[in-house]
Symmetry: C3
Subunit: 273 residues, 3 copies
């Protein structure tokens, strides 16, 4: 089932409009291409709505937001919502500055985002108006473990319901919920936290998967999250002793490129609560 | 002959001013260094003309154009034209938004670009004022094949004549013309389309080759196009089963770095029509 | 001793605020993660001071400065200075344009930077108000060799004294001085000059090392410089015949990630003058 979601990306080649940070933008473009989708980056307010209208999905990532790009996020977001495109919000660093927190909250107030993907600290910030975000990484007190799993699942379901979205909260254990059910996903490697941009890459993948699977968005988002985790595991198994985070970064994207659907399905580890 | 063009880049180390998109800028810088040239990226209007004046060539790539960088493109372009530097325009995504189409056309109206490099959809847009650009990739109906080759060659020659430029239209078959003759180049691999930025990289290479070979610009541009294609073939032959677009991207640039002139000449496949 | 500086980075995971150019920003983020530190990139003036206040160090790199980001450099710099954070200035291309020269000099006039890292041409420009910068590379007449070593050491010491900073002037021979003593470091490989951004990466590393070793900043900066050089040597030894600057770039960062403290100390080559 998750494999079918990937196959649909490969068949339909969705064009994804990315308004995303300049730190990880190249990796975002390449992982979209690796998955079978196509990227277009355009953050000028003068063209944001027009570019969105020729695409199948939009991802808004606030990782290096500024006074010039924030209006483009609103313009593109409103157009994408009007066209009923899958829109993904990645509230990078919400909680780390008032600008980030307020921009993310205003985006969610003015535009309905069908998908929101972030780490637990970012999502808590959006829920509560304050958070423990340590820069762009989740605070250690926000880690989801087997001990606090049920509380975390209930929080994510509630967030999804309140915002009429699919919430994807990723970390050691990933939670993906539409408010009624919740995928609890246990793929990935802790070493992925030492690569910049695996979260940004995942947000873009999520947009591609949602675009290619419009009638089962929850499953599509869960598939994107599993794919990133499985690619992390496959890539990790291919590392040599002298490899570090750069080799790992490249091999994850290459693992998405070469991912065999059977391996993907066989290696995905999730339950639905 | 093409090999001599590469040797001249390696001997003269041209400094290339790049006003280019932030998606692929790192790869653009590294492929210039791989070829023997040096990059400098500077897109502030306050310094654009001054930076251009210490360089040997300029490439203007509109991939992530915006209200801040567009004036810098004009400033740098005018200065480079006044200094008789080789200037290359890469009209990324012309046809995908009015902002891109108009900016590219205005640049060509106000400044003579000795070289224009793009895919067929972008060049058609510049010629006709409208195009079928799908995001930043050429539309499938614009693909050059053996069936429509003569028409395509005639179109490219006409475009080059009309704009007094060398037009490099790249795709499955690459066409490079100064209006009278046309190189038809059959190097490269279709998988290069699944890497972000091979076009951007080629545009920058073209500027370096033109700067190092001022007395035979047509041949220099054709050499840059062949080099990118040959590097793609060499890199592809070095891929392992688990490699994807990231490994391929890196190996293409590494193939430029390590390119042996004899291999380059022996592997180049072109005819002149 | 230098090894302890690296261990302190790995133990304390300093969060480094980077206002840095968009050419090499991804590599900067990944080398910080490779060293054990964490990056956050934020260049909007609206959040610059606030982001700095949650970090342990700041690096200001003017590689792609513009009218929007320059005020953020001043805001973040002033806040970091007020909080007594280690601040590193990387005056990329000072001397290549008036905008760069004046911005770098104004930054140093208004804010005390405890660390300044650049190539000899850039530092001479800051000292004299003019320089021989060739784009973003040092001019060949500014190369430090055994012949002009004593003059160069004396210049760097004088610069450090005059600006109450640790000056790190890197090139074939690296000089790191606080005004009284000077590390003369002979690690690294000339081929590192054919990768974009090794200087930017080093400046960010320097900030992380200074943050993790506040009571011995001179040694910390020297350790960062040695680490970059040793990583370059280790990476170079791992290159295969077909590898070029992209493989080398990745392997340097991976060598930082996997660096064994004993290897680091055993391979560091420096004297103190």
């Amino acid at each position: 089932m998750l494999g079918e979601c990937l196959e649909n990306v490969r068949k339909t080649h969705p064009l994804v409009h990315c308004i995303t940070n300049y730190v990880t933008v190249n990796d975002v473009a390449n992982i979209l291409l690796a998955s079978g989708a196509s990227p277009i980056m355009a953050d000028a307010v003068e063209e944001a709505a027009e570019i969105t209208s020729i695409c199948s999905a939009l991802v808004v990532n606030i990782g290096t937001l500024n006074a010039r790009t924030i209006p483009a996020m609103f313009e593109a977001g409103k157009k994408a919502a009007a066209l009923n495109h899958p829109l993904v919000l990645d509230p990078v660093g919400a909680g780390a500055s008032a600008l980030r927190t307020e921009t993310a909250r205003n985006l969610m107030t003015e535009i309905r985002f069908p998908v929101v993907r972030g780490n637990m600290s970012e999502i808590k910030t959006l829920a509560a108006g304050n958070g423990n975000t340590r820069g762009v990484d989740a605070d250690v007190t926000d880690t989801v473990t087997d001990r606090n799993l049920y509380g975390a699942v209930s929080f994510v379901k509630h967030f999804a319901l309140e915002h009429s979205c699919i919430a994807a909260v990723t970390g050691a254990i990933d939670l993906v919920s539409d408010g009624s059910s919740c995928y609890v996903i246990r793929n990935g490697r802790p070493e992925m936290g030492r690569i910049t941009g695996t979260g940004c890459q995942l947000s873009a993948l999520t947009a591609a998967f949602a675009a290619a699977n419009p009638l089962r968005m929850l499953e599509a988002v869960a598939a994107a999250v599993c794919l990133m985790g499985v690619a992390g595991e496959v890539a990790f198994s291919r590392l040599r002793k002298e490899d570090g985070n750069m080799a790992f970064r490249d091999k994850i994207i290459d693992a998405v490129y070469t991912m065999d659907v059977r391996t993907f399905e066989g290696t995905s580890r999730y339950e639905i609560l």
